[in-house]
């Protein structure tokens, strides 16, 4: 698979009030591959947000380098191109919508790119259609639910036709239904539009739908791999303070009771299937 984003020995310090240099990222080597859904998890302060902000050059490395399709984020000339490739959606939808009308907000990105008018209109219509937001076209954002606002924020990024969308804890402010719909949208964009998705999240039931996951701890990558194999290493996962998906929890518990359940089951459907096998 082709590398879309590559970090080499990425280290980043920031200054805080009391200490001179606080290490936020240390020696991070990781890749985002074209077309995958990658989950980045970790406790608050583990550096996942800082890492994500390096992907589209909102932050630039202290040491090491970040490449987006071979373009280094260090050189300023690359930044407009990098931001076209990588779109980003943040935690609080209220703080990222610019306009008082949904369609105008979605047009904001394409307008910034200086696209001709017919193309802006086409892209806005396409983004509204892809996320099923046509009915909200002329609504002001304050009439929408948090989940709808976040969908509008994604549409605003989608209208820029990025190759990759980074979602920085997009579901943190949402109710369970909003979370489910947002995850469905992200999966839809990946499967139907071929957009690479990087999802930063605390929710393990979101992680299990991803192709690969990275666990961050204290600014470094602790674990990396498909969710199924990561959750097999339950002792290590526990040490990082992460939750387990419900199926893995139940599977683990049953295995300790002596039932013959294979490790690495993370999807509820799979667990049910193997439970049925036990019975027969």
């Amino acid at each position: 698979m082709e590398k879309l984003i590559e970090t080499t020995n990425l280290t980043y310090f920031y200054r805080s009030g009391t200490k001179d240099q606080v290490k936020a990222l240390y020696n991070v080597n990781m890749n985002v591959f074209q077309g995958e859904i990658l989950a980045i998890t970790g406790q608050n302060g583990s550096g996942k947000s800082t890492l994500a902000r390096h992907f589209n050059a909102l932050l630039t490395p202290g040491q090491g380098e970040v490449f987006v399709k071979g373009l280094s984020t260090v050189s300023k000339e690359n930044i407009p191109e990098i931001r076209k490739i990588i779109g980003m959606v943040f935690q609080n939808p209220d703080n990222q919508l610019v306009s008082s009308i949904v369609e105008e907000d979605i047009a904001f990105g394409p307008e910034n790119l200086g696209l001709p008018q017919p193309e802006i209109i086409e892209r806005v219509n396409w983004a509204l259609h892809t996320l099923g937001l046509e009915e909200l076209r002329n609504e002001p954002p304050h009439n929408l639910s948090e989940g709808q606002k976040q969908q509008v924020a994604i549409a605003g990024v989608l209208a820029m036709k990025p190759e990759c969308i980074v979602l920085d804890e997009p579901t943190a402010h949402l109710d369970p239904r909003g979370r489910r719909e947002l995850l469905e949208s992200a999966i839809h964009l990946n499967r139907e539009e071929g957009i690479t998705i990087v999802l930063l999240t605390h929710f393990m039931n979101e992680v299990i739908h991803c192709d690969r996951m990275i666990v961050m701890e204290n600014g470094s990558v602790k674990m990396e791999g498909p969710p199924g194999s990561i959750f097999c290493r339950s002792k290590e996962v526990k040490k990082t303070g992460l939750d387990f998906p419900i199926a893995a929890q139940i599977g683990d518990g049953l295995r300790r009771e002596g039932f013959d359940i294979k490790p690495g089951i993370i999807h509820t459907e799979d667990l049910i299937a193997s439970l049925c096998q036990l019975k027969s």
Binding site: K84, S99, I101, E104, G114, P116, V124, H142, G156, M160
Partner: protein, 275 residues
Amino acid sequence: MELTKNITLGVYLPGRSFIHNLDPRTKILAAAGIIVLLLFTRSYSAFALSAIFIGALVSLSGIPTGYALRGLKPMLPVLAIMWVFQLFLFKTPDATVYFHWWIFEATDAGLHMGNLIILRVLFLFTVTTFLTLTTSVVSLTDGLESLLKPLRMIGLPSQELVMTLVIALRFVLILAEELEKIIKAQMARGVAFDRGNFIQKTRKIFPVFLPLFIGAFKRAEELIVAMDARSYTGGKGRTKMKTLHMGRADFMAALILLAYGGLLIFIIISTKPMI
């Protein structure tokens, strides 16, 4: 404390009338023109003409007259006080005295001055309210952006200014909601905002605004990052999804306005001013 319900910024009544469909630039320029003319209007007959013209516009727009004037209600006491002040305090040497009490004199000059000021305020209010009633905030800012564009040449960052306005309008409601939350949180911890004298009440407001400001700055920072991520680099090189088009209706409106303006100027010149 229901703040968000009382905020009606740029109350807009959607409609399909001739006035609603005009280009926002036509409406902004017309309102500005009418207001400038008002400042030169000093005779009752000229005010009468303005009243007929603006009344005709309001009825053309299909907005109920009562609704258009509703916002005046809270201003009425202030207007009355202004009128009384002018009546007793404005004097000219040759004025006829109607009424005399202690050091106060009501003169005909004072009466006319009072009337003039009140008429001006009334008309200013009606014209600006009428503009916002028939034009949505978004088309107002679009119109403003387009009108200010030529000023870029003399170095005015017009697009950035309008973008600031757009964002400010978007955040008014958000900040009002936040203010409401802060007030409720403090009430929950025992602050009684409605008790005490004026100074005590005012003092209780400060601890409310401090968190509001901190919150606003945090939001601003997040918004900057989000705009940055969406490739915003200022007004330069931006295109717009919607561009404004002036049509035949705008041309007709301009003709009507010119006719009105000419007639009004004629009346202003030829009639005796009230004061």
